[in-house]
């Protein structure tokens, strides 16, 4: 056989491979730098002095970091549970009622936080709390996060529900299951991957959120991102690199799990 000739390849543009490679360098180099700098021996975060793991010990022993982490976890867990439950109910209600007037308006409403700049949502929520006289603190953050997380939980659940075949539910009814039994044994198990995906997204959104938290947190309720922001502003030790690296790791683990869980399930990847 003759060697493969180098001819004209349709759809290929010269340089696009290199361009894509550079693109991914741009996308990942900053994160890599951050991880490397978590092992910086220097007292100043931005100046490299040599390899050391000493800041890891310092960061984990730091009481205020621990408090912030606990706050973040409490908020994320509460917001995730409530948001996922509400989103599931909303998705079910929507699927049950079928085409109704204002359906698209409701859909638009739910996805509002996805298109409105976060700062606007943040100050609007703050104003709302001020009007109803809601005390700022851990609880106000939880409420704000819950609202903000609903669309992220809603999308994968609805996608899953839309891809579901309602003849299964009819079959269950045919086999003497009542409405609750049908829901418990058929709908819910089938919906589970969507719910888990939605919950994971909510958790990540909540634990990473900064702007809304900044606006609606009272004194004393500090989350990890708020603590990191404070550290960045105050001139910095490599401790901030360490916490950032840890948070980065958590996000990557969650998102990877989400991605590979929904992979092959086309319904949950499309909005």
């Amino acid at each position: 056989m003759k060697r493969q000739r180098k001819g004209f390849v349709l759809g290929h543009y010269p340089g696009m491979n290199l361009w894509t490679a550079l693109f991914f360098v741009y996308l990942y180099a900053p994160m890599l730098v951050l991880v490397v700098y978590a092992f910086n021996d220097s007292d100043r975060a931005q100046i490299w002095r040599g390899f050391s793991t000493r800041w890891f010990y310092k960061a984990f022993a730091n009481d205020s970091i621990q408090d912030a982490a606990i706050n973040s976890l409490i908020i994320a867990v509460c917001a995730t549970v409530v948001a996922t439950t509400l989103a599931t109910l909303a998705a079910l209600a929507m699927a049950r009622t079928g085409e109704f007037k204002g359906r698209s308006a409701t859909l638009g409403l739910i996805s509002l936080p996805l298109v409105v700049p976060e700062i606007a949502t943040a100050v609007a929520t703050l104003s709302f709390f001020a009007v109803i006289g809601f005390q700022l603190g851990l609880l106000s953050i939880i409420v704000a996060h819950t609202v903000f997380c609903i669309p992220f939980a809603f999308l994968p659940i609805r996608a899953r529900l839309e891809g579901m075949n309602d003849t299964l539910e009819q079959a269950a009814g045919d086999l003497y299951a009542n409405e609750w039994q049908t829901f418990r044994h058929i709908t819910l198990p089938l919906l589970m991957p969507g719910i888990v995906a939605g919950a994971m997204l909510s958790f990540i959104i909540s634990i990473d959120d900064f702007i809304i938290t900044l606006m609606v947190s009272g004194a004393g309720a500090t989350t990890l991102p708020l603590y990191i922001y404070g550290m960045i502003r105050q001139g910095i030790t490599p401790e901030v690199n360490v916490i950032s690296t840890v948070m980065l790791g958590i996000s990557i683990v969650f998102i990877s799990a989400y991605w590979f869980m929904t992979k092959g399930d086309d319904h949950t990847t499309t909005h």
Partner: protein, 365 residues
Amino acid sequence: MAEARSNALSVCNVVKVFGSGPGAVTALNDVSVNIEANEFFTLLGPSGCGKTTLLRLTAGFEQPTGGEIFLFGEEIENLPPHHRPVNTVFQHYALFPHMTVTENIGFGLKMLKWNASDIQARVSETLALVKMEAFATRKPAQMSGGQQQRIALARALAPRPKVLLLDEPLSALDLKLRQAMRQELKTLQRETGITFIFVTHDQEEALTMSDRIAVMSEGQIQQIGAPLDIYERPLNRFVADFIGDTNFITARIAAISGSKATCTAGGGLSFSTPMVGEHSKGDTVTLALRPEKIKLKAATARAKGSATIANATYLGTDTTYEIALTRDVMVTARDQNIAAGMGRFNAGDRVSLEFAAGSARMLTD
């Protein structure tokens, strides 16, 4: 290559392998073919036989793994598609959805940097050629499949290519439209004088339109010839089987005289056929005999060389009969229903078989 220069398209020893390693697929295995100028040439074969690959190599969408392709004597296999004076009519039309009919047809001319008034003139002329003048401002989505087909044809014809490639262009149309388009394509080809290379898996299409047909199978050309040659004188089992219905009869060569042979088969049948390949007296060969070449005559049960009809199937224009020559040799005969009624014979009738000299063909395999 003097021979290559006299042809519109010469394909010389072309090999195309997709992929590499153990998963590699050979789509074309040493294919050579010469297509003459002004010819309506058809590549006919089942799906996966390599006919579309050969077309795509000619258009330039793929490069051959080996071999050369000449267009009017010029070697083209390494030219990109936009440097080849060849246009394609795609199977699913591939009209540009964001352009009007006029823009679609004028696209090639615009790319060739024609000036606007010349483009306009050629577009109108081509629209008239395919009888679609009324649709000039439509978008592809606003037209039926048949209309889109005509626009696709017009778009490919507008730059007056040296060779027009048609990739199963009629396969997406319904039967009536398909039949009407066959005639029109043939007329268009004659009027424009452009060489057409037509890919199809439909034998009827191939037989009715083509000047010559290349029958392909498994990446190789099995036979090239005029429709009459292909049908009446199939070279091998594949060609005989793929085009029309055929009885394959195992026979023994009883005598050879010059280029003719006399073969005998079970049931007392005897055939005179042209010799094919290197055989000698006493060899076993396969003969192909078209069902409609068999003439049936009523016979008495005792008559020598008579056989029993096992099954009769009424087809409207014809009736086919399955005839048991011996216990395990069956042939199918086709008898035209000239008289009114279900056919001349019934299952269980005794008939004798007759056929003109040369109606059976000896095959190479």
